[in-house]
Symmetry: D2
Subunit: 134 residues, 4 copies
């Protein structure tokens, strides 16, 4: 499964070079993750309410082409279970309407509970996630 999120670049996200400041792409990735969960039929917020948090333990991004204020972007998100303890999301940021690829990257996450101890993703959620990569 691939999830598709649409957003418009905010003025606040740009910098003196007239382009989106690079760290905001990680925020765009987060929007992609949130929508990926929603497309699976639940929400990340719901997962947190069950004491499962998914902090980012690694992030990588290649910035290929700048995004500018008011650009309409699409975030394409896919998912991969790495191991029992680590999951990964992959992202592409594409500019509409010319479908130019602006950035691509990934994030790695380790499920933890609210005191920071590694924990398992509840079975129903894990199955939904696993099924989404088939």
């Amino acid at each position: 499964m691939k999830s598709r999120s649409r957003l418009r670049v905010r003025y606040a996200e740009t910098d003196t070079m007239g382009v989106v400041y690079h760290s905001n792409f990680l925020v765009y990735f987060e929007i992609g993750r949130t929508d990926y969960f929603r497309d699976l039929g639940f929400t990340y917020k719901e997962l947190e309410s069950k004491d499962v948090f998914m902090p980012v333990t690694e992030s990588y991004c290649r910035y290929l082409y700048p995004a500018r204020y008011d650009d309409q972007l699409e975030i394409i998100t896919s998912f991969g279970m790495i191991s029992r303890l680590r999951i990964r999301f992959d992202y592409e940021v594409v500019r509409e309407p010319d479908l130019k690829l602006l950035a691509q990257g990934y994030t790695v996450h380790v499920p933890v509970n609210s005191v920071g101890a590694p924990c398992r993703i509840p079975q129903a959620y894990k199955q939904a996630l696993s099924r989404s990569v088939e």
Copy 2:
């Protein structure tokens, strides 16, 4: 008492106009507040650990002159008790070295506990705050 905080403008804080995006001045104000508490001999963090939070209920800012990347700024913060339930901080943002006034504003806060109910600031902290305006 007036508290003085120094900071250098980050690239991330600027926008396409080449100046600090206006909402970041509210973040600069927060730095001023944090230092004001520290100058009084305690920390806002400590107050939160005693279940006293001070969410912003109002903010106002006049933007007089732009700040730019790498500018060295000074935030000058002063405090005023409004009532038993509301406190207020006033701020000036000055550019070094020419001491040009870039912005001025205020924030209003209502002390609440972690479930959001209005609460009193513990006596020792309140006295330190009150004394600071004399």
Copy 3:
């Protein structure tokens, strides 16, 4: 005319209190302004390409009720010409689906050109803006 913008709260916008950090409401206001221009049939970006910029010279916000991660919000934006040199936007931030009013505020803007000198909004745009308040 009132413009309506919808957005979902990002994790990045929240803080340790578990609510949207207050300065982000000014960013939400910016989204409202951008959509207001678009609803009038042009874009703020287009205005900038004609050497007309609209920096914020004043901002005010009352924070009535917190917004949280993943909340669906609506920004309701209206416009008022103050004088030949100053314009103002008013905003309300409402939470869907219960229509709870979370925040309200305004921003004041002075049209300037790229070297920062006050300038007039081109006639066609000014008429569109004026007509929108009738």
Copy 4:
């Protein structure tokens, strides 16, 4: 040469988990780069005034341990010339006073001019940078 930058975590930088939102570490890295240039005897701002910009083309970060509001952090920055066209900075984010390593990462940059064409770093700056890695 290693450059050392000190900063205190802002409330605005934290999220609902009570820790620094991960994308802010890229902003901390930027502070490290800015100070690295300054420690070499010039500023990145000065470089931009000579029509040399250094957009980030890649970023990577491993998040080992969370940072929290009001934590005092140190960013340790080092530099490596990759090729005639690419440079790289490496970063460590350490918490004071226990010197716990919270995050480490790197950014890759390609010098370009204001129209986005790859360009050379002016000789004097390049020599200063090269000398700093010896």
